[in-house]
Symmetry: C2
Subunit: 148 residues, 2 copies
Amino acid sequence: MKDVKQETLTDTVAFRLGTLGAITAELFAERLAAHGLKPKHAGLMALLASGAAASQQDIARTMRVTPSLVVGLADHLEELGAVGRERDSGDRRRQILTLTDRGRELLALCTATANAIDEELTAALDEPLRAALRAALAELAVRAGLPG
Amino acid sequence: MKDVKQETLTDTVAFRLGTLGAITAELFAERLAAHGLKPKHAGLMALLASGAAASQQDIARTMRVTPSLVVGLADHLEELGAVGRERDSGDRRRQILTLTDRGRELLALCTATANAIDEELTAALDEPLRAALRAALAELAVRAGLPG
DNA sequence: TATTGTTATACTCTATAACTATA
DNA sequence: TATAGTTATAGAGTATAACAATA
């Protein structure tokens, strides 16, 4: 049972990840909009919470976006009072972003939103299959070098 | 073991589908570019092959894009000789798109590309987990009303 | 009037390149 | 010179709105 080639494009993992990912991301974005946030804002806050990145360059690399994009994300989160920006005393070119209490609140909201989507999305799966899906996605994320 | 709330955003199915979907779609796009195609062209051809849609309005609805976007996709595929456009004799407002032999060749190329990505992507998964991932994504696709 | 396909336009997201301040 | 952050600009992808042909 190895090398199971899918005969149709739509049956491949690659195609389904792409389409389901787009639909899910859009749904996530719609629900976050009520809180003035977009998925990338949530991802950035999650990154800060995990301690995996702190300076804007670190964040850009980990999120796989350009540093210039991080500027706008951080600006917005700062306006919301979700993050603080502090110059690194050791290297004054760097800015260290830190999550505020408000940021932790907003991140918890984002996580709750994602959990709600999970439940709706996987309602049709029985528990073993749901657990397998989580495990498989977690392994793919690790292999892709994604944080979390 | 019900209602397993993920404590971190990055551990949710929703967030992982979004990020992995984006990465996979980008990889798919890069490899299709060699053949002058983008993922949406591949999706459109797959739709025609499945017989799930034929007119541009049908295609737009099934692909969840606006009809005006289908115009450009069909234009490009027609230029490549991958699809033919014929006015519906019963309703001359409609245009029925049909896959040509060249279109079937190109679709096979796209499918092979997606299969190759599947193998690379799921190389770290053992066979039962890989099968579970396929089954879970298939079920999610059905629930989301996706074709295939 | 309503619908199909089309065109023109605008919007969103993101990257690239040039700039500044620090190193 | 090289790097961190910023700003200005450009490109890709897509939607919305207005239009022509047909129903």
